[in-house]
Symmetry: C2
């Protein structure tokens, strides 16, 4: 039961789902989860955006959820259940719970642009049937849906909603704290605010976010946990300094996206084979791979 | 064989795929295809964006492709094969050909933002395996990928590429003609340029586009065919006047999207049941439905 208490606090790490046209690389995936859990992450986020949930078949998603729960042991696993269609989301919610998910993560994927009412309706339908907590996943870069604070506030009152994964905070620490305070004032007290967009993590945690939904922790858990623990103990200077040392990686995140960047890190560390991303998505071009390798060399003492 | 010669000329009409959580409404779908073919469209575009291809299961997509080919008779059917993953696109291409598609339509759907190289790679992989012509489907509003003319030009040289469905043209007729001329100068002569974004149709055809990929013709084929025939005969004034009469509908297209608008038109005409859109997508709100009904009343002599 210990695991449940670490849900929606500290650091949730999102493993890649190494995959080829032939299927999931089970060994590599289990290795990534085992590694982050051994390092001490508070929860595991399987089938997040960088876990390529949007690209996998229902059977593959079930397979990944089961492997994650198995490898995570007593560490709680949050499972992504997003899909373009409500019918599929309901199915994935059921599959995730059957696999042993401690919570689910739901982004409003879109093809036809969605209205706020349509997105509210999606969360309303799904939460009515859920037996585990839900985290609202706001990632406009992939979903192309922009939440408003009004919509956050309405959805946060649905049964079982316990966290919102926000896409980032202002760069300025004072503005970030103001943003988190303003948002929190609109939400029930039990909603955990989680910062994502890894370059924003130190600022977001210092600004009062409850946790970091971390992509980098999927491949480099040690420095990400150190950053989180520093922030949790109030040592924002150490957290900011650690984030500063990760800046060469954040720079590649910004220019090539977090998925391709963490995949290159995992390849460089020998944690996954190449290729490991779902076509048509490709790995980093050569120059960015060199930037990743150079950044990793400077982080040697942290990994 | 007659049908093949009307592919990529004149007007391609895209039927809705009326659907509920329980499945496809076969009778209504067949009715829509039969109706547009009887009215005289040059080709049928099954499983376009307003055919909800992105929301359907592989089995449902096969079912729709087969029904369309059956109902279309000698009129050629273009079948949408888009998916987030290359693996699925290849599968849909095979399924579409097996169902009797005269051509396929491929949009670069995205979840992770795609690079031009990734999109080129997708078309390269798919065209290498195709036995029917392919239309490049550029719809940035749903795919969130922006083609450049350079990329159009590279993809247009892949084997079997025969058309590009462009998302619109400048509103100004002179600028529109200049745009079509500039684009055409970059492309092989056999590429048919098709205008989409129905409010742009008259301007696009007058500017030299070879055909109109029409959403409205899926529910109101008669005025759309009249507009096309006028434009084809060089009577741009009549085409523009017809488009002007449709302006109350274009206005609803612009504020609520073409899918919800044509669904409401089809409901209003008794061609489909309600609901007929894939949740979380919902039908038009009441005020927009009233605008649709009012617009239809003014078009009485055209339908």
């Amino acid at each position: 039961m210990m695991g449940v208490w670490t849900l929606f606090t500290g650091i949730a790490a999102f493993p890649l789902t190494p995959t080829t046209e032939a299927g999931i690389d089970e060994r590599a995936f289990t290795g990534l989860v085992t590694r982050m859990v051994a390092a001490g992450v508070d929860s595991v986020g399987a089938l997040g955006s960088t876990g390529s949930y949007a690209y996998l078949s229902p059977a593959e998603r079930q397979q990944v959820a089961r492997l994650a729960v198995e490898a995570a042991g007593s560490t709680p696993v949050i499972v992504g259940i997003g899909a373009l269609r409500t019918r599929e989301v309901r199915r994935y919610a059921e599959d995730a719970q059957r696999a042993g998910a401690a919570a689910v993560l739901l982004a409003p994927m879109s093809y036809q642009a969605l209205t706020p009412e349509e997105v509210y309706g999606l969360y309303e339908t799904v939460t009515a049937e859920l037996s585990v907590p839900l985290c609202v996943y706001d990632n406009p870069g992939t979903t192309h849906f922009a939440f408003t604070d009004d919509l956050y506030a309405r959805i946060a009152r649905l049964p079982g909603v316990r966290s919102i994964k926000i896409p980032g905070v202002p760069v300025d620490p004072v503005a970030a704290a103001e943003r988190v305070r303003a948002l929190r004032s609109r939400l029930p007290a039990e909603i955990a605010l989680g910062v994502s967009g890894d370059p924003f993590a130190a600022t977001g945690l210092a600004a009062g976010c409850d946790l970091w939904y971390s992509v980098l922790a999927g491949v480099l858990p040690v420095p990400c946990i150190a950053l989180t623990r520093a922030a949790q103990s109030g040592d924002t200077a150490t957290a900011a300094a650690l984030s500063g040392r990760l800046e060469p990686l954040w720079s590649v995140f910004r220019s090539h996206g977090s998925l391709r960047t963490v995949a290159a890190i995992a390849e460089s560390l020998g944690l996954v084979s190449t290729p490991n991303l779902p076509a048509p998505v490709r790995g980093l071009p050569a120059d960015a791979r060199e930037a990743v390798a150079a950044a990793l060399a400077t982080l040697h003492d942290l990994a």
